[in-house]
């Protein structure tokens, strides 16, 4: 009975009804996240094939010059991951590396583990900060002692594909004005739980596909802290990282303001461990979504203002992120309110249809990603297709709730300054100075 009614309703929908009932999907999500991806990747794939010669030339130049690359991994209590990280870097095709680990006030075995690795020559330098200063401070400490022309910032619990360092450096040799290159973050602990599987799908959509598209459009606004490469002279010119959270997005915008290009390299693959429960995931996303408000709407609001330093691409990068992540997030609540107020009786029909629509585009997006990036995806990445039916609920309901709450709390109460991700003494200064 219900199914019949549903099918009848679908059959009765005309173009006007479709727009009225499903305008968020057709007007925004389908256009921005599916059609645009199709168009851009449609240009990306043959373009990459055509660019192979240039890529090869860039690679040859890279290996001919063989610049020193400083790989830095600042963190607290990450000692147990460092041996595996050192192994991963040992297996890289690009070998001219110096590994610098900074211990941000660890209270476990990290110093002992890392000193031993240093003595054995597995890492070049281990710096222990007795007093915790936060991620930015630890990263800046590492930057102070880097000798490489390029700096690769990694999370300590990451592992890289064998050619990842080489891949992330090549864009610097393809274009003279690249300031930073983002690596492709994939989920390592895919099979731990439903939460990790959902994140696996999300990363493929949002990072592998989404950031490649943004990069091609010249509006990429973030180089992930988990894996990104920077020109050392650019970092030094900026004085390193600023206090976070969201310091990866923050430094990316600062590099954009210098007029330099930000590139995403989907073939520079990095595997990382993600939260394995929805509770832990919520805490992570609270932090990320709050930082988006703090940095993009407050600290870097100048990107939106006309002025001497105005740059169209920077404006679009910032505006697009604010518009889609914050303003259009509100649209869903408006849409829900609209349906509840004006057509409450239709909700039982509208919601399943919305689900089917979003599920369909998820399938299309996933297929696009697998097609475009097949060479770097593992079998178990592709096997995530089995979990696509849950993705609309994950992204459309769970993440949306978390994001809405985070953004409201940050807009109204600036709660990011109380985040224990930074030491309180650092956060209190940042709050006092409105940083």
């Amino acid at each position: 009975m219900y199914l019949e009614r549903l099918l009848e309703f679908v059959a009765s929908l005309g173009p006007r009804d479709l727009f009225f009932y499903f305008w968020p999907f057709f007007l925004i999500d389908l256009v921005r996240y599916t059609l645009l991806d199709l168009l851009v990747l449609g240009a990306y794939m043959p373009g990459r094939h055509l660019r192979q010669r240039r890529i090869q030339e860039a690679r040859s130049r890279l290996f001919r010059e063989r610049p020193l690359v400083s790989v830095i991994a600042p963190g607290k209590n990450e000692g147990r991951h460092i041996p595996a990280l050192a192994d991963s870097l040992d297996r890289q095709t690009y070998r001219h590396l110096e590994i610098i680990i900074v211990d941000d006030g660890s209270d476990d075995e990290t110093p002992a583990i890392c000193r031993q690795l240093e003595r054995r020559g597995r890492i070049r330098r281990f710096i222990r900060n007795e007093v915790r200063g936060g991620k930015a401070s630890a990263a800046n400490t590492a930057l102070r002692y880097c000798r490489g022309r390029f700096v690769v910032h990694l999370d300590a619990d990451s592992s890289l594909r064998y050619d990842s360092i080489e891949r992330i450096l090549i864009p610097f040799y393809l274009h003279h004005d690249v300031g930073a290159v983002g690596g492709d973050i994939r989920v390592d602990n895919l099979t731990d739980s439903m939460a990790t599987r959902m994140q696996g799908v999300e990363y493929i959509k949002a990072i592998t596909t989404g950031r490649t598209v943004s990069s091609m459009l010249g509006i990429l606004r973030i180089v992930a802290g988990a894996y990104g490469a920077f020109r050392r002279d650019v970092l030094e010119r900026l004085g390193g990282w600023d206090v976070g959270p969201g310091l990866d997005g923050d430094i990316t915008l600062k590099i954009r303001k210098l007029g330099l290009r930000i590139v995403h390299e989907p073939e520079a693959v990095c595997y990382t461990n993600v939260p394995d429960s929805f509770r832990k995931l919520a805490r992570q996303r609270f932090r990320w979504d709050r930082s988006m408000v703090r940095f993009r709407m407050r600290k870097h609001v100048d990107l939106l203002k006309p002025g001497a330093s105005f740059h169209l691409r920077n404006f679009i990068a910032s505006f697009e992120n604010i518009f889609f992540s914050i303003l259009l997030n509100i649209k869903w609540w408006v849409y829900l309110a609209q349906m509840l107020v004006f057509h409450p009786e239709m909700l039982s029909l509208l919601l399943p249809i919305n689900y089917v629509l979003y599920f369909t585009v998820n399938v299309v997006q996933f297929a696009i990603a697998v097609t475009a990036f097949r060479s770097s995806l593992r079998t178990r990445d592709i096997a995530l297709a089995l979990y696509l039916p849950a993705v609309p609920l994950y992204i459309g309901v769970y993440l949306r709730l978390v994001r809405t709450l985070a953004q409201l709390m940050e807009l109204l109460h600036k709660v990011s300054y109380r985040d224990r991700w930074n030491p309180w003494k650092v956060s209190s200064i940042a709050r006092r100075e409105g940083l």
Binding site: F126, G133, T141
Partner: protein, 463 residues
């Protein structure tokens, strides 16, 4: 020679100078006057050789001399080392010895009276030290000093010993091993692994090039902007200013921190947090890592009850105790009897030959002084070397500490000579490895002639 004013019932202390001792020599110390005096008195203000004179007194073999209290009479404070080595001092005229000092001298004299005397006096350093400590009573504490290479001395004991480095410490170790003194930890000291010197130069070195030209600076983390660099990068005149955000830094812990520090090598420009620590001995120049340095316990010593007895009656030689246990020594009288029986047996049956083997080891005391606590191990090895030569049918005795005679039954002179050669080689190698010399070692063999008098034969062998 001057005399002090005498107390009514007690002879007066004998005032000595190095000049009078030089003029009168041993006669002065052997005289009744010297023997009866309750103390010797030195006057360092009038005698520049007082320290040497003290050594002469303390190295005399006669307990009545070397154990006698030595006092200083001086108006000015005496030299510190001399004062610590003596039993007291006063700043008055010769006849005005304070009552307290008189009592000290009296107590020491009473202790000396009860001591057993050996012919020739006390020659071994361990016994001399023990008797000295027993007569003085009280704990013997070490004194840190820069004048001696081992860093700590026992001032009152130093004059008793020769100039051999570490003689006193090694002898005290032997005494502690034998439980006649008890040590209590006073402090510890690192010493050179090569020569035992306590004076070590600790340097911080670059882990990369071992250079010592290092600079050291704190790292500063500015809370506001996260910028981290050496303190020097923040200095702008008298103030600290962040190079990144141009803000002044005011209070540590409020707007900045110093999370760690860094060393910089000016030779190879390497930056690091943990320099390599090396030690260099001031005496021999030997380099080593601190973790490889031997650590010596510096102790306070007290004479035990066993030690009091040993001081009074004589210290049983550690060497002899090891030999007796390992070699199953036969008493001298019994050995002589067995010798007669063996000679008679050979004379009657005329079918076999036996030999005598002599092992003489001079300077056993030197072993204590040179080896200290290790002397025990060396003695065990010596005994082992001798047991390798001897068979169950052989008999061995000790005439004294350093003289051993063995009866090798059914062994002709050639065989005995071979055994002697092996013994000579084994013991010689042991002495060479531990002492650097084989001087003082004598091995001899003689055929047990049944026609000769066994006693005369034995005596001829020992002579």
């Amino acid at each position: 020679m001057s005399t002090t004013a005498e107390h009514r019932d007690v002879p007066a202390p004998l005032e000595l100078t190095s000049r009078t001792l030089a003029e009168h020599g041993g006669e002065l110390l052997d005289s009744q006057r010297a023997q009866a005096a309750p103390a010797f008195v030195l006057v360092p203000e009038q005698d520049s050789g007082a320290a040497g004179l003290l050594q002469t007194l303390r190295r005399h073999p006669d307990p009545d001399i070397y154990l006698k209290p030595v006092l200083l009479r001086c108006q000015q404070p005496p030299p510190a080392e001399l004062a610590q080595a003596c039993d007291g001092s006063w700043a008055g005229s010769p006849g005005e010895l304070p009552q307290g000092l008189l009592q000290v001298c009296s107590g020491i004299r009473d202790s000396i009276v009860g001591l057993a005397r050996a012919p020739g006096g006390d020659t071994g350093l361990p016994l001399r030290l023990l008797r000295f400590m027993a007569c003085r009573g009280g704990p013997l504490s070490p004194l840190p000093t820069a004048r001696h290479r081992q860093g700590h001395v026992y001032p009152s004991l130093e004059p008793l010993a020769s100039a051999e480095p570490g003689a006193v410490l090694n002898s005290l170790e032997v005494l502690e091993e034998q439980r006649v003194i008890q040590g209590e930890l006073h402090t510890t000291a690192y010493e050179c692994a090569h020569c035992g010197c306590a004076f070590l130069n600790f340097t911080e070195n670059c882990p990369q090039c071992a250079a010592v030209d290092l600079s050291h600076d704190d790292l500063v983390h500015h809370f506001r902007c996260g910028y981290t660099a050496e303190l020097g990068a923040f200095r702008r005149g008298e103030q600290l200013v962040c190079p990144k955000c141009d803000r002044a830094l005011h209070h540590i812990g409020v707007d900045y921190d110093k999370p760690s520090s860094m060393f910089h090598c000016r030779s190879c420009t390497h930056d690091f947090q943990e320099p390599t620590i090396r030690t260099t001995c001031y005496d021999c120049g030997h380099n080593s890592a601190p973790e490889n340095l031997p650590q010596r316990s510096v102790k306070r010593f007290m004479v035990t009850a066993l030690g009091q007895n040993a001081a009074a009656l004589g210290l049983e030689s550690l060497f002899m105790s090891v030999m007796e246990r390992r070699l199953n020594l036969c008493p001298w009288d019994a050995f002589q009897m067995f010798l007669k029986v063996e000679a008679a047996r050979i004379a009657r049956y005329r079918r076999s030959r036996s030999s005598l083997l002599l092992l003489q080891l001079c300077g056993v005391d030197e072993l204590y002084v040179r080896l200290g606590r290790r002397a025990d191990d060396v003695f065990e090895e010596l005994a082992e070397a001798m047991t390798q030569i001897l068979r169950r049918s052989d008999l061995i005795t000790a005439r004294h500490d350093a003289l051993f005679v063995a009866l090798l039954t059914e062994t002709d002179e050639a065989q005995a000579a071979r055994a002697a050669a092996r013994l000579d080689e084994g013991v010689g190698e042991l002495l060479q490895n531990n002492m650097g010399t084989t001087a003082g070692l004598r091995v001899k063999v003689a055929n047990l002639d049944p026609e000769a008098d066994p006693q005369a034969l034995l005596q001829a062998l020992m002579d």
